[in-house]
Point group: D2
Chain length 192, copies 4
């Protein structure tokens, strides 16, 4: 006998197996907005963590030194070995949260492209993940970066395309002409 799907108050089927939604996209592509909309439209409580959460957890000195993450004048971000070690521990921790029962939206920037995805894939082995590419035309993203006023100029353009090269997705959304909430509904419809 088939168990009928449970339907949440907004018409989405309660996710039975998907544990993580990983949003990958460049700076100012709209990932955080989509994450907040997903938390509202999905019937279960989902946590949201991401690159920003991790960077805030770092010592201030590691946000601007060769050992850590570096925001260059042109917006390119480079990282060092201590950053990489802490990042690996961070990813293992997020995986453990999911294994302990939490549903999690991860708001990420795969600066290393497929190598970044592989780090997450390995850590999440055995968990059901929905991989989502969040695209935005680089000129539009640069304009939104300007309008936000709280980001290092140039990051949007430098990251817009490179973070997607060689990365595999279950679904891609594009915020150039589509609102965050509409993208969130499209993602919600893909959960299993």
């Amino acid at each position: 006998m088939k168990i009928p799907a449970r339907i949440g108050p907004r018409g989405y089927r309660v996710a039975v197996t998907t544990r993580l939604i990983i949003l990958n996209g460049g700076s100012s592509s709209g990932k955080s907005g989509i994450a907040r909309c997903l938390q509202t439209v999905l019937p279960e409580p989902w946590l949201t963590v991401g690159t920003d959460t991790f960077v805030e957890a770092l010592p201030a000195a590691m946000r601007g030194s060769d050992a850590g993450i570096e925001f260059a004048a042109d917006g390119v971000v480079s990282v060092g070995p201590e950053f990489r070690a802490l990042e690996a521990a961070w990813i293992a921790g997020v995986a453990a949260m999911a294994r302990s029962g939490a549903r999690i939206v991860v708001d990420e920037v795969f600066l290393g492209g497929p190598a970044s995805q592989q780090r997450w894939r390995t850590a999440l082995d055995g968990l059901e993940v929905l991989w989502v590419g969040v695209r935005c035309d680089s000129e539009v993203a640069a304009g939104r970066e300007l309008a936000r006023g709280d980001r290092v100029g140039g990051m949007a353009v430098s990251q817009a395309d490179v973070v997607h090269v060689g990365v595999d997705y279950d679904l891609e959304v594009d915020t150039t002409h589509t609102e965050s909430l509409t993208c969130a509904h499209a993602i919600a419809a893909h959960l299993s």
Copy 2:
């Protein structure tokens, strides 16, 4: 043959075994300031996560409903079952970060007193933890809450004492008359 202690640039011995420093104290007692100072004075890179990180990861709806965390008009905070389940997953995740090699300062408010400590103690089984009580005279904490201007009034007073009742510490610091940086130095001297 005894391995000589490695000394970091600020004169503190590199921590060999301590993996987590857990700061417990009421709102506006000064935990976050101590955590940032620890990240600066300790020779290794330490991550900082805490109650605030977790609450920001929650859906907006769970920060103000019976199912989640609730900030009442008098500053008392109550939580529900969904919050508790996500919190357990969060704690398991922080423990996994430490087991994966990260050193972590945890900035916590043990609203449940010894029950809160037991939840962390169980999850951190086998890891070396330094338990630190962060005290502040409740009237002074209330004044600092007012001066910060971004907190719900009344939390400082309602939490100042209750979070410490029945909790065991390796070390206690008191920010009433002692600066955050001085407290951080005292804690750093206790790492093993």
Copy 3:
């Protein structure tokens, strides 16, 4: 002999006479983003102040009491007499900044419609003002409010249309399908 127009680095004529650009629109209609873009595209330095600047300057107690500004559960905002008196002084101050030589973008919400506009018009008597309506479809604005995650839910919908009723503009822009930067360029082209 006609003095040739001075052209700034982004191709816009240096504003000769316009002293203030007043952006009026509902919450989450995109005014602040347009203001920041204007500050970037215009050749002269322009200050930006607005409703948010004023509300932050108020005592905390006046942001949630009958005497001041009140954000109701449905997002409707009401204000009292003390708020009105301080607001009048604030507007007089912004007018004085412009009379003293500053160019100013004002990011406003005319909750009182034409009465709000009249308060500004009277204070700015003799100064050249560009009045700009910032529109956004109310459903789209509500989705952006959700995506921002830092606003009281319901304000976008309750303010979207009412703030424009009976207000006169030199120019209207609509952010529903147009980016902030594009709107800023349209406004910049209207300065005299």
Copy 4:
């Protein structure tokens, strides 16, 4: 016949003549906290504006260029001619707010010492002002800057003493060993 003083709910006489309280002190000396406490303890509604309000109103490009304000690596701040012109307009605007009936706490950093004070004094001619020096031991301020975690390192030390040289006060407070709220009470007691 003498008019009896009106007493507010917290025991302070309602200020009859003082229109502005100008707090001058270095970064991380505690001015903003004192300003928020003053807004709470004083019986009338007081606005608070200051250097931070002004810097936020500037175009992003003027916060890091020779034409505007510059935060150097050592925390020293230098300003250029366009900044000075906008600042003069800003000060004139704050004076106009006070002349229009607002009571205002001004949270300032007199980087130019007596020249900075003179700019304010000239603009505020005829208004009753309470000039308050906010001191803090430079080593303590540097520790608090570290604990805050959101300020450019080095500003506290570089500004601690220089902003007070040659400046005249009606009252000085010192936050090294005194809480913001206690300082606010001392200031409140000096209003006339």
